[in-house]
Amino acid sequence: MLEPLLGSKSSEKVLIFIEALGEGYAREISRFFGTALTPIQKQLDKLELGGILVSSSKGRTRIYTFNPRYPFLKELKVILDKALSFYPENERERLLMNRRRPRRRGKPL
């Protein structure tokens, strides 16, 4: 949807995912959208270098969030929110209902 504006599908996926969930890491994003890992990693790198995202390590995972110091963040989020509202119902549900609460290690369900 935002590909013509953002230049790539992967970029849109990354930004939409982080807008919906607040944060994300490469494997999680690629799994969610069922796409290859490398293009997602490349986009995360590119967006971090551009100052749009920031990252920090948690264990062996690099977690990305929006850079609150990015001067156009407010405006970017408005566009992403609008785009998200145009996403198919099931896709939007999957994004917004993605489990974020803790789950004990080893729990069967």
């Binding site: 270098l49 551009g50 609150p68 110091r69 001067p71 407010k74």
Partner: protein, 191 residues
């Protein structure tokens, strides 16, 4: 001209800035190195953050840096004769969602350094404190405000516009306390 190995951080930043300017690349010093300069090196940072305000192609910067012996490693530029690392954070030059308009010029043996103003330097540090609760950044903001004359009214306006009234009050309270203890100790502001 001093050799790169003997230059202080500020002198090196000035030298690199002047060299890039000759190649048509305008950069402004921001980040930790600006804090060092404004606090008489009370805070020491090995990084030199130069923000490219004209959004030139990365290749142009790489070529210009290679001319003076810097090598790019993982987006950072290193020189064999200095421990200082030069980085070019993405523009635009801004604090929060506002553009930086006022640029200071400070004279060093290697030329005149263009650097964000002390007031913007405080705002830049406070942004990291406001958004990530980074206490080191708060300390740096307080140091700059102690060593330099800064626009507290402007910092307040900006803080309120970012919705950080409470955090600004903490900064102000600590700043006032520092001011009082400094007055007792008889210290004076520099620059």
């Amino acid at each position: 001209m001093k050799s790169i190995g003997k230059m202080t951080q500020a002198e090196l930043a000035t030298y690199v800035q002047a060299h890039l300017q000759k190649r048509g690349v305008t950069v402004i010093l921001s980040g930790g190195a600006a804090v060092s300069i404004y606090t008489d090196n009370q805070y020491v940072s090995a990084d030199i953050d130069l923000v490219d305000v004209n959004f030139v192609k990365r290749k142009k910067i790489i070529d210009a840096m290679e001319d003076i012996g810097f090598c790019e490693t993982n987006r950072y530029f290193k020189h064999p004769d200095t421990r200082h690392i030069v980085e070019f954070p993405p523009g635009p030059l801004s604090v929060g969602d506002e553009p930086v308009r006022s640029i200071n010029e400070v004279k060093f043996s290697t030329g005149i350094l263009k650097v964000i103003s002390p007031t913007d330097c405080v705002k830049d540090r406070l942004a990291a404190y406001y958004y990530w609760n980074d206490q080191q950044s708060l300390t740096q903001a307080l140091l700059v405000a102690k060593y330099q004359r800064v626009g507290l009214t402007e910092i307040k306006r900006w803080s309120l516009s970012t919705g950080k009234k409470q955090e600004f009050q903490i900064f102000l309270k600590k700043h006032s306390k520092k001011g009082k203890s400094d007055a007792r100790e008889g210290s004076t502001n520099v620059l």
